[in-house]
């Protein structure tokens, strides 16, 4: 069944200025867009005649104001912080940001309050609590209340809560459809009341043809309550039986665990136990919150509270505290203890929803390898990589190239190394070890010498190609050295030189 909602829109018209630490009532400052036009102005500037859309140079002449650039990241962080505060009162919170890239777009929050009214003993009490949060934030705001979020946002522009105030709003406020605004104005619709009047007289059918069904549905949402009251409904305006449930806001959560010791610890062995405890705690937290993380931070404090941080990146941490501890200890052993540690802290500042696809089930079989063994392999490689670095652990993969040094590629352990052999590589003599850069062979008395005299015992095998790059032709031989070691050598037919490229 369709239920009645109550949405509160909170619009922050000076947010871009306020996040830059500007007092909008005292400081003469404006935000200029990339096109050197004013997109936000503080109150003193507005009083001096600075208007939105005006060139920045003109604004400077009018009020001698400071011109700053917008900081969208800070704005987003401020709204998130505010959402976290409002989460204490309602879980249904949306951020209103239609087009963040827009020079003039104003931002705000939309709170659905209908389900929390009885909990806080009436709307009056609830709004009082919300106003207190806003006062603490110090942000300038405008608010609107309505049965749906779109109307609530439009009502945040109104001076009063009356229907007439909504109908007197200029069509420019329909910011969700910027391309329709010009068209509406050209057609003679200047305020929302004009549109409502036309809908009342001419019906919605013509509107739908001219402006599209999306726009008409949007209008329906705005005028829904008015339409229901005055029985303006027709086929297009018939309300749906159900409406979507507002999305539940999920505040960002962090894990922080700290342990303080009786006396400073000066060895890694002694730190292992408290580190294990914190790692276990983190994994319990991640399992309880169905989260996983890829980066943790260990903070070591000395008695003067100096802090040394150690970041640990790994494949994935969810419930395996042993791997987390092993990797941490490996890294700590390499890094060494900076001082005697008096307190230890584990931080996990960024988590993501757990991906169970990455989790191997005990019954899972992949290419004949049991899930348990796969998990064990992952742990092993993670530990080795943590110790030696990613570049020092690799697989080799065959690449379909003629020249051997190009046909052998190092790949990361998570990349596939399976590739069927092609062409001459399928049957030719190939050594166990290859030199990525062939080594020139010396000649002595018309004999090949490379750590001993060489005798050619098998070959030749001609490999040529790369005519599009730098053409090359080589005759490959198996050579036997004086100590009977077999080498893979070739004669570069163009350079007329001999090289050794592998050992059998």
């Amino acid at each position: 069944m369709k239920r009645d909602y109550l949405w509160m829109a909170l619009r922050f018209p000076y947010l871009p200025l306020e996040v830059l630490g500007i007092d909008i009532r005292k400081d003469a400052c404006v935000i200029a867009s990339q096109h050197k036009k004013i997109s936000f102005a503080s109150l003193p500037c507005a009083n001096d005649g600075v208007r939105i859309g005006m060139p920045a140079a003109t604004a400077r002449l009018l009020s001698n104001c400071e011109i700053r650039m917008r900081n969208p990241e800070q704005e987003s962080l401020r709204l998130t912080a505010l959402s976290d505060e409002f989460y204490n009162y309602t879980p249904y919170i949306k951020t209103h940001c239609l087009n963040f890239e827009s020079e003039y777009a104003q931002q705000g929050l939309l709170l659905e309050l209908s389900r929390c009214i009885s909990l806080f003993k009436g709307l009056e009490q609830l709004t009082q609590l919300l106003w207190r949060v806003l006062e603490r934030s110090g942000l300038y705001y405008c608010h609107g209340l309505a049965a749906n979020s779109k109307e609530a946002w439009l009502r945040s522009w109104c001076d009063s809560d009356t229907r007439e105030a909504l109908f007197n709003l200029p069509v420019e406020k329909l910011e969700e459809f910027p391309d329709k605004i010009d068209l509406l104005k050209k057609t003679g619709f200047l305020v929302l009341g004009d549109i409502r009047q036309q809908l009342k007289v001419g019906g919605a059918h013509a509107f739908k043809k001219r402006f599209g069904s999306d726009f008409v549905e949007y209008l329906y949402d705005i005028f829904e309550s008015a339409a229901l009251e005055s029985e303006e409904q027709n086929d297009l305006f018939s309300p749906s039986l159900f409406n979507a449930t507002p999305l539940v806001y999920s505040p960002v959560e962090h894990y922080r665990g700290e342990l303080q010791f009786d006396y400073p610890l000066n060895s890694i062995e002694w730190l292992a136990m408290p580190m294990r405890q914190l790692a276990d705690d983190l994994c319990l937290y991640l399992v309880a919150h169905q989260q996983q993380c890829f980066l943790v931070q260990w903070c070591f404090y000395d008695i003067y509270h100096n802090c040394e941080k150690m970041e640990l990146r790994c494949e994935r941490i969810h419930r395996d505290s042993v791997l987390l501890l092993d990797l941490s200890l490996i890294q700590l052993e390499q890094q060494g203890l900076p001082f005697e540690v008096d307190a230890l802290e584990l931080r996990c500042l960024k988590t993501a929803e757990v991906d169970f696809v990455m989790e191997s089930l005990p019954i899972q079989k992949a290419a004949g390898i049991s899930g348990k063994l796969l998990a064990e392999q992952e742990k092993l490689t993670a530990r080795i990589r943590a110790r030696l670095g990613e570049k020092n652990v690799f697989k080799v993969k065959y690449v379909d190239e003629h020249f051997p040094e190009l046909a052998n590629a190092k790949v990361e352990i998570h990349d596939s190394a399976d590739a069927p052999l092609q062409g001459p590589h399928r049957y030719g003599n190939r050594p166990d070890w290859i030199f990525n850069t062939p080594v020139a062979i010396g000649k002595h008395q018309n004999q090949l010498h490379w750590h001993g005299r060489l005798h050619l015992i098998r070959g030749p095998e001609r490999i040529e190609g790369h005519w599009w790059d730098s053409a090359a032709a080589r005759d490959y031989f198996v050579a036997m050295r004086e100590d009977h070691v077999r080498l893979w050598v070739y004669n570069d037919l163009l350079k007329k030189e001999w090289f050794v490229q592998g050992v059998f």
Binding site: L388, I413, D418, W433, R458, H466, N491, G502, F504
Partner: protein
């Protein structure tokens, strides 16, 4: 010395302790051949299997191979690697699927050679430690992991001490893989706790193996294995004079003569 060996022999408890002690796999008992049977894996060379006390490469212990250069690695170990990777015909090894790890390899392993030897490059991992400490730490880590079924390691530039070798050897007892350490042949003159020490040297027509030390057998053994096909001297190069390097250099360097058996691969 622990409590087991401290008990007085002759008493019931003492004999039980001695029995428990003798059941341990790492107690050296000379050439009596009366030792606790340990798992082995077919080397793929019947002659070598015969020379080895337990008819195959011993698992869960340290094997040392002494060489001048790293040669014939896959000739000696590809068959066992295939079995350990569960790719052989032997149904006893169907469940094998661990990694084949090359620790501190002497050069880049050639993926083509791996595939020609029947080894999937997907299962072969190369690990390059920067120094001896990292080498030992990685060896221990790999040997103790169930995920590594075969570990082929090459000694780093710095010499490994007896204590470090002992550390490696102890780590190999924890799982049932095949653990091999390749060292320079001179290193075989030093003491080592390895259960099996073999000197491998290539010859003109064979691969010569000298078993210097083997648990359960105090006698040295020598044997010659057949060379891989692509190591043997090509008959036409032997028969004709084209096999001499001087002629090849002359032929290749100055004029492009037709050498018998030449095959041209189209680009």
């Amino acid at each position: 010395m622990d409590s087991q060996t401290a008990s007085v022999p002759g008493t019931v408890k003492g004999s039980l302790d001695l029995e428990a002690l003798l059941r341990r796999g790492d107690v050296w008992r000379g050439h009596s051949r009366r030792f606790v049977p340990c798992q082995t894996i077919d080397s793929g060379h019947p002659l070598l299997n015969t020379a080895l006390v337990q008819q195959g490469w011993p698992q869960a212990c340290l094997i040392e191979i002494g060489q001048c250069e790293s040669v014939a690695t896959w000739h000696l170990f590809a068959h066992s690697a295939r079995l350990l990777a569960g790719l052989g015909d032997d149904p006893a090894w169907e469940s094998g699927s661990g990694l084949i790890v090359l620790l501190n390899p002497p050069a880049t392993p050639f993926a083509v050679a791996l595939q020609q030897s029947g080894l999937p490059p997907e299962r072969v991992l190369a690990v390059s430690p920067s120094d001896k400490a990292d080498f030992v730490a990685c060896f221990v880590e790999l040997a103790r992991s169930q995920a590594c079924s075969m570990l082929l390691s090459w000694q780093p530039k710095q010499k490994l001490s007896y204590a470090e070798l002992r550390k490696c050897q102890l780590a190999t007892h924890e799982q049932a893989g095949l653990y091999v350490l390749f060292r320079h042949r001179h290193a075989l003159a030093q003491s080592s706790p390895a259960a099996l020490r073999i000197h491998v040297s290539p010859q003109r027509d064979a691969l010569h193996l000298l078993i210097q030390k083997q648990k359960g057998n105090l006698r040295r053994a020598e044997l010659c294995l057949e060379l891989p096909d692509n190591w043997n001297i090509q008959p036409d190069l032997v028969a004709g004079t084209a096999g001499s390097v001087a002629q090849h250099i002359a032929a290749m360097g100055q004029v492009r003569v037709a050498v018998p058996g030449r095959r041209k691969n189209e680009a």
